[in-house]
Amino acid sequence: MSSDRSRDGRAGRTQPSLVIQDPARKRPCVLEHSAARARVLTLATDKPKREDAVVPPSTSAVGTPLELFQSIVAEAEDGVLVLGPDGRVSYANAAAEFLLGRRRAELVGEVFEVARAVADNTTRVNVISRDGRVRLAELRVEPLPVGPSGSMVLRLKDITSYHQDAARAREQVRRRDEFLAMLSHEVRNPLAAIRSAASLLAREDIDGNVRRRAGDVFDRQFQHLTHILDDLLDVARISRGKLEIVKERVDLNQVVRDAVEEAAPLIGKREHRLQVDLPPRKVWVEGDATRLEQVVVNLVNNAAKFTPPQGHIFVNVVAGPMEVEVCVRDDGPGIAEDLLPHVFEPFVQGKQSLARNEGGLGIGLALVHTIVLLHGGRVCVGPNPAGQGVAFTVKLPVLAAGAEVPAELEPAGGQGGGPTRRLRLLLIEDVADTRDVLKQLLELDGYEVLEAGDGFSGLAAILDQRPDVALVDIGLPGLDGYELARQVRREARGRDTRLVAVTGYAMPKDVRAARAAGFDGHLIKPVHYPELMKLLRSFEAASAVPSQPPGGDCPGAGSS
């Protein structure tokens, strides 16, 4: 029987921590303290009298068991209140003061009837803490085995953040799942189109018109896939904090013009009317032109997605003395108020089927937000002040109108339409399909094309055959592209060949690394053919070598 054990009050005093675990806590919170239960509590605790406390030498250093208990819990993270047999608070630790938002003087001596009001020995309650927050706390009521009989101890454990964290984690998982579903949907569509176009092209009974249209399909879907991939990479960079921008003097007007041009296809497709208002003077900001363009493109695309056909989209730039504002507005259906605070979080999308139809991964605005922050600016969203729809406003710090023109580092583009000198090209690329197709395209355009499938044979081909231009994949087996370039540049025979790096990464540091290794140009993989043409033509124009006879007719076939 517990009575035997507990009758010896010393047990309770000398080993208070043991007795705290008394089985009596099984159902300590009772509406009426029945006589029987009260007796159990009495038995479990004894009656240490105040004057007792000083007597036993073993415990005199810390005082009575009750005092010992209180000194133990004084610094506890959980709030602890001790209630005397009359229900009055006799002690409150610092955490309890904080969690209940009341000072000790407001707690001690008061009766709150909490112990009698709980239906279970663990009850969740809201408390208003000293910082004014409503917190969720777990309240436990147990008999206190030390101190006067009938004493109770009340513990408050703050579980607010645990709950918020759990809710946040669940939300993140849900969004990620949604995102993955979205992603597979997004990728599947272009793949289906590409597959059909490929089947079409494989037939022999099609005319040039059909073939051209199939080619267009490839082109479009391809761009689409590339875009998705870029977005994904950006999201990965954002989440790893690796999004990099290289700041230089940029004319924001030009950025907006370029962005509008890039966004034009989607706007045209839905017959939106786009109105762009730019200040007459250049607006200089310090930033990364490509990234800033991405900001405007994403905002305009976003507006286009959510605005029904023939709606209006407005882009205007207002330059103030300190800040410049880029505002993108539309007269679409707007964004639900509860969604507004979340639109800049990744993977958040409105439920409108319109947006779903247009696709997108729900990361465009997250990118906007991050890029703008990296530029020391801010972006906000609200209802369109001019009526229905949404207005996104980007604010960036402006640079004083100092030096006239930013240093132009790019080689002058060769748009001169002089006679084309047929260059001898070398493709160093380990993926045979990629190499083969590019070779055929280039040969169709009259170039003589050599091939190499890895770094070492590429190096040998450059030194032995001395092509005018070598397109070098960076991720080559054997010898990587950077090392290849370094070795080529070390040889006298390798000085004349122009080296173009082809990489999947277009970060400024990649471009710098390529230049440092000895490359003359840089293309992003997958190579955009018109871009390659532009680059080749610029080489042709730049090389003052007089036009020489074409390097042989183009043989149509020739694969690796």
């Binding site: 509406l31 009837e113 909490v114 009001a117 239906a119 009850t123 969740r124 809201n126 408390v127 208003i128």
Partner: protein, 107 residues
């Protein structure tokens, strides 16, 4: 017939507060129907009332009448205990009609 008067102290629109209200309707109102009245006090909006009535934690349901005053803390989800605490375990849900939550109890 006895008239029951309740006050429910809540802190804003927390989950607990919402659950307490729903449970009150389910457990208490379903039994007492027109014999009960409930007043809700938001301690965020009326901190003075909260202090005056020594409310340190919510949701707190107070049976003001009939005497004695009974207080129940928490979201009222512990059905049997709540009913016993409030002295309503004798009341039949659904205002005396056999229907109600007990409907599906047939083995």
């Amino acid at each position: 017939m006895e008239q029951y008067v309740f006050t429910l102290y809540v802190a804003g629109e927390s989950d607990l507060a919402a659950r307490a209200l729903a449970n009150f309707d389910r457990l208490v109102r379903a039994r007492l129907r027109h014999r009960c009245s409930l007043q809700t006090v938001d301690v965020l909006k009326e901190p003075r009332l909260a202090r005056q009535h020594r409310v340190v934690a919510t949701p707190l349901l107070v049976r003001e009448r009939p005497a004695p005053v009974i207080k129940v803390l928490g979201d009222l989800s512990q059905e049997a205990k709540i009913l016993a605490q409030l002295g309503l375990d004798g009341e039949i849900s659904g205002g005396g009609e056999p229907a109600g939550p007990g409907q599906g109890k047939e083995p």
